[in-house]
């Protein structure tokens, strides 16, 4: 019986008298430890020494001026903070806002050069390698980090120039708002612009002269003039080649990279590895010219271009003029843009001509 009584007493908080569930260490109401009774705690209070007592007898309490001065300072600080908070605008000033486009610029404008340098160089340290490795996983990570640095700097500037957000939720909302505005106003247009002139395109399947994993840059705004290497969508075509056993189909679709050999209205002849355009020899050749059989003749219709699919392995050395005609004459709208640079891997970095 006594044990039960002790156990019940142990479950009852000595601070707030709350009856806790058995097995709990802390009081559910006030958080006081239920094991204080057996804890190892020094219960002897500190005592004033003889010298302290003498000093206190002469000077019974700390000079009232100390706390008065401290309270006056605190009051002045509170009043000043109140004035500052009430004077702080709800939005940052316009010169600060538009300078947020480049991290650190607003800091320089506000005279905070240290923070400005930190934000600017931190951003560039991620952005430049990110652009260099654009189109790869590493590049995406680095660009994400650059965006993080930029949005952090912007949030800091906004928090400094606006009234402070009270509460964690409001701070989070403000942080997300700044990131979204920054993305919509800066990174989305900039990303769109960059992908117009330098759209990173990964090669999915090895096809000489490209290997799997190569990254090439495509300019969407360059016209598909003869001689330029372009990214294009090969015309959809289904071929049933003659094989010894069973039935086999080749489906031709998707994106390819090859050289534009002739423009609309040209008459072209390919024979013996040489190209003749309108009866004249042309120096242009497909990227993998040795796999293109001959002789073949083409009359390029209006709004179409001749691009022999030499980088498509299934048509190499296939003596089928119909197939080459179907796949070689590409409508203008199927040409995505000019491929001008292989950016990855670094061992094969260089211009594509």
């Amino acid at each position: 019986m006594r044990a039960v009584g002790l156990w019940r007493a142990a479950m009852r908080c000595r601070n707030c008298q709350f009856q806790n569930m058995p097995g709990t260490d802390l009081c559910g109401r006030c958080g006081t430890s239920l094991r204080i009774a057996t804890a190892v705690i020094d219960v002897q209070p500190p005592r004033a020494g003889r010298l302290s007592k003498r000093i206190r007898r002469v000077m019974p309490r700390r000079p009232s001026g100390y706390y008065d001065a401290r309270d006056a300072m605190l009051q002045a600080r509170d009043e000043f903070t109140g004035r500052v908070v009430s004077a702080v605008p709800r939005l940052p000033p316009a010169p600060v806002v538009w300078r947020l486009v480049i991290p650190g610029w607003s800091y320089f404008y506000l005279g905070q050069r240290g923070r400005g340098h930190l934000a600017l160089w931190g951003w560039l340290a991620f952005l430049l390698p990110g652009l260099f490795f654009f189109g790869t996983t590493l590049g995406s990570i680095l660009l994400g980090l650059a965006f993080s640095v930029h949005s952090s700097a912007a949030l800091d500037i906004v928090s400094r120039t606006m009234q402070p957000a009270e509460g964690v939720v409001r701070q989070m909302i403000r942080g997300m708002g700044v990131s979204i505005v920054l993305f919509v106003a800066v990174y989305w247009p900039a990303g769109w612009l960059v992908t117009r002139v330098a759209d990173a395109h990964g090669v999915m399947a090895a096809a000489s002269p490209f290997d799997e994993g190569d990254v090439v840059l495509v300019n969407h705004w360059r016209k598909p003039l003869p001689g330029r290497v372009v990214l294009y969508n090969i015309p959809d075509f289904r071929q049933r080649p003659a094989v010894a056993h069973g039935v086999t189909y080749y489906n031709f679709e998707g994106e390819r990279i090859d050289r534009v050999l002739a423009g609309p209205g040209d008459r072209v002849r390919w024979a013996g590895g040489e190209l003749f355009v309108n009866g004249k020899p042309s120096p242009l050749k497909p990227l993998a010219a040795r796999w293109v059989p001959g002789p073949m003749e083409f009359a390029v219709p209006a709004d179409q271009y001749l691009i022999l699919p030499s980088t498509t392995p299934q048509v190499r050395n296939v003596q089928d003029p119909v197939l080459w005609h179907v796949l070689g004459l590409v409508p203008r709208e199927d040409i995505v843009g000019q491929v001008y640079l292989r950016s990855h891997p670094l061992g094969r970095f260089g211009a594509i001509r």
């Binding site: 430890s33 204080i36 219960v43 004033a48 206190r56 309490r61 700390r62 000079p63 401290r70």
Partner: protein, 267 residues
């Protein structure tokens, strides 16, 4: 000589005389300190506190806590005794430590507020006092602390706070401690009023009479002070402080008498 020859052992019973054996049995019947529980030491501390013996009350509170550290009353008592002994920084430190164990305990918060107030940090004392009053339950301590804060600030609301404390706890110790607070801040007239209330409630308590005498003495009412000290000595004939106060009173009167004799050239 054996190496154990110098060790001391209890004398064998046959070497003790009859009187020695009786004494030994009497010693065995006497309960040792270890035989008492924490409730006993708390009661002892309370008794000593009511006698105005704060130093020994503090010791008994500590002894009670040695047996059971979860006694909130022990921690509160220690803090209050440190304040009564004038050790305010130590009281503040100790109340902070106790508050780590008993979070937001109203009496400990009130004790801390009192210690801070005595040390002069009224701003922190106000915060602690507000926290104490905001806690659940009705305690006199937070209202006493609030009243002390009002006295320190020379605010007129002190009476209301102290009345509230006296209303919550009808113990005679409450008006007596209120009187001590007034006296600490040099408000002897109010101190006397409150101390008289304590005397009316507990006229058999020597400490009440002693405090009343001290208040009267501070106000220059020497004759009533002498009577109060005499009452105190009637109740506790060996009350050292009352003896000393009476002696000082008589000594002062003799000084005055000597002065007048010299002034008027009396024989």
């Amino acid at each position: 000589m054996s190496r154990f020859d110098r060790l001391e052992f209890r004398e064998p019973e046959q070497t003790l005389g009859a009187r020695g054996q009786q004494q030994q049995r009497a010693d065995l019947r006497q309960p040792l300190d270890e035989d008492f529980d924490e409730g006993h030491w708390l009661r002892m501390a309370g008794d000593e506190r009511r006698r105005g013996l704060h130093e020994s009350a503090l010791r008994y509170y500590s002894r009670a806590l040695e047996l059971d550290k979860s006694l909130v009353a022990g921690w509160v008592g220690q803090v209050q005794m440190l304040i009564a002994l004038g050790e305010y920084p130590e009281a503040e430190l100790w109340s902070r430590k106790a508050l780590e164990l008993f979070k937001n305990n109203a009496e400990l918060l009130a004790g801390r507020a009192q210690a801070l107030c005595r040390a002069g940090d009224l701003r922190a004392a106000q915060a602690s006092c507000d926290a104490a009053i905001g806690q659940q339950g009705m305690f006199a301590c937070p209202w006493i602390a609030r009243g002390e804060l009002m006295v320190a600030r020379k605010d007129a609301l002190d009476d209301y706070c102290f009345d509230k404390a006296a209303q919550i706890d009808p113990d005679w110790l409450v008006p007596l401690e209120i009187g001590a607070i007034y006296q600490h801040y040099g408000r002897d007239a109010k101190a006397l009023t409150r101390t008289r209330q304590a005397v009316e409630r507990a006229p058999d308590q020597a400490y009440c009479w002693y405090r009343q005498g001290a208040c009267e003495l501070a106000l220059g009412l020497t004759a009533p002070a002498e009577r109060s000290f005499a009452r105190c000595l009637q109740l506790v004939p060996n009350h050292a402080d009352a003896h000393r106060a009476l002696a000082d009173l008589k000594n002062n009167r003799r000084v005055l008498l000597r002065f007048f004799r010299r002034l008027f050239n009396w024989s």
